[in-house]
Symmetry: C2
Subunit: 347 residues, 2 copies
């Protein structure tokens, strides 16, 4: 079981992921081993595509959440307790499958600064290797043997896809409301964060049978709100919220004509020429030299950036409060750090 620490510790100084890393480094090495073991196939293209994505520098935030949310209830102290590790690998596979399918849906050329898998192996391989990883994810969940965990993750799987379809209908539509957009990111991003956290106390019932709806709903809520904050910060970074995050290319969303919250706010608060600008670049897709710079300037001038960040802070605060009833463990402190770090990326 994690050591009890004073919560004030996490509020000192700048937010960092040190505690998160210290607690998850060793179990995440085992998760990586599981991931590598499960991308093997006699069909050569599968390990190649999977390796491409796995090497491409994701932060592995989702599986780390699963590991911490299991550990915080004392699960994993004994090496034979590896349910949380397999579920963490399942969560990462679900995420990777989504990325592969997203690239096809968005017709993306790049992913995290590297050529998207579909540019190297084609749309076909991206669709099918995504399906393979999803199949492997469910097999691992079955091995863990918890129907509750399976229920949570299979529900998330359907909700994520539903959110992506919803996004198709809001795509390139400047009249999307903030509420519409929140509904989309709640499904397509926050649902997996939420499930990744909720399966922690589920798997930990093996060592702690008293765990139940209290712990599950606390972590479900934490995950949902962290996911929303995470996505909104990502959206802000794409409009130059910060130059710190070098992995993120500014302007990707603009070029792909995505209607994210910074644009929604800027568009709704503007009129005349400005509205016409957004309609030309987003709806018509007619983008010219200097348009990205103008878009970034307009988003800032209309408060689209600052208010996207303040919305993210709101969800971050809700995430932190959701943990209130849980025991004061190192892992809980790390989860609070994760929220602060996530918001700090942009400020």
């Amino acid at each position: 079981m994690g050591v009890v620490v004073p919560l004030s510790a996490q509020q000192e100084g700048k937010a960092s992921l040190e505690r998160v890393m210290a607690l998850s480094a060793e179990p995440m090495q085992r998760v990586n081993q599981i991931i590598l073991g499960r991308t093997g196939s006699d069909v050569q293209m599968i390990p190649q595509v999977a390796q491409h994505l796995i090497d491409s520098g994701g932060k592995r935030l989702r599986p780390i959440l699963t590991v911490l949310c299991g550990q915080m209830f004392g699960y994993g102290a004994d090496e034979s307790q590896e349910g949380h590790l397999k579920l963490a690998a399942s969560v990462e596979f679900m995420h990777t499958a989504t990325l592969l399918h997203d690239d096809v849906v968005d017709e993306s050329d790049m992913r995290r600064g590297k050529p998207a898998a579909r540019m190297v192996w084609g749309n076909q391989a991206s669709v099918l290797v995504g399906d393979f990883l999803l199949g492997q994810a469910f097999q691992m969940m079955v091995e863990v043997g918890s129907l509750d965990a399976l229920q949570v993750l299979s529900h998330a799987s359907a909700v994520i896809a539903e959110g992506e379809v919803m996004q198709l209908t809001t795509a390139k539509n400047t009249n999307t409301t903030e509420d519409d957009y929140l509904q989309v990111i709640k499904a397509k991003t926050a649902a997996l964060f939420s499930a990744a956290c909720e399966v922690g106390p589920i798997v930990a019932t093996a060592v702690n049978p008293d765990l139940g709806e209290v712990e599950r709903s606390a972590l479900r809520s934490y995950g949902t709100n962290l996911g929303l904050a995470f996505q909104l910060v990502d959206d802000a970074l794409d409009y130059g919220g910060s130059a710190k995050d070098l992995g993120k290319d500014i302007g990707d969303d603009f070029r792909e004509r995505k209607v994210t919250l910074p644009v929604i706010l800027a568009y709704r608060r503007s009129e005349g020429n400005e509205k016409a600008f957004w309609e030309r670049v987003i709806v018509d897709g007619d983008q010219r030299d200097g348009d990205l710079e103008r878009g970034i300037r307009l988003v800032r001038e209309r408060g689209g950036l600052a208010d996207t960040i303040s919305r993210a802070r709101h969800f971050g605060a809700v995430a932190c409060d959701a943990l209130d009833g849980l025991p004061q463990t190192e892992e809980k402190a790390a989860l609070l750090d994760a929220v602060a770090f996530c918001i700090d990326r942009v400020t």
Copy 2:
């Protein structure tokens, strides 16, 4: 429990699906209700795309197999026993998801004589609605609550995707061997037939705890071999094996440059000009007026059609023998009918 009938009954006259239909009609109505209930979503495009596929006249062979394989062990006699119906709906959703993704991978324009979903709603919707259906399939399996059934179906899910990726590497390659091809269709077609059958005795353990590996392996083998026979007959029909099956357009595989068994056999048995013809139309994709007719003629002349059908008969015979140890029920007789009917489509 199904009534015991003399097995000779099924050998009289022409193969028909009458017995299959009589035994499955009522439960399949309930399966259809489940399917309709699970394609609902506030995201309008999801029920639209799903309905398009569901209406497009599939034979629902796979879910019928699940229903019969549960019923044959006495499951479903009481109306509250609906695990086999939910698993049947899951199997159909897995199949439908595969079709949606296949259309994107194959860049198909048509599916069963109607425009493919991707032509109506785009590749994006086909990928994402496929993912949604897969998520729903797993949710239904979780509701049934059998980890064994989940293991069998999640394994099939990964194997199917693996088979599809394998097919990419054999696509448009005339040097594909018969063994390579069998490996592909075993994964991409037979795995789901096999799983659809095997979950029958699994769910039926609820009423019949003595069921075990004997029944499971019998139906697993039956499903695998029926699936292989089914796919080979389909391949033969596409080269004009029969004019009876009006739903099937002759020449689709030729136009899509698929290397199916009729072509593999015809190519390997030919030389000179004929080999060059196959390389031009399949490898180079240079297809001209009259090429389809020539392809059909060459496949016939080289025995590619007759021998594909004889291979299908072989697997059909293995499927029938696999059922040998099982009790003589109406359902077993129906499963034997299904094999005969499947082969009869082509002769």
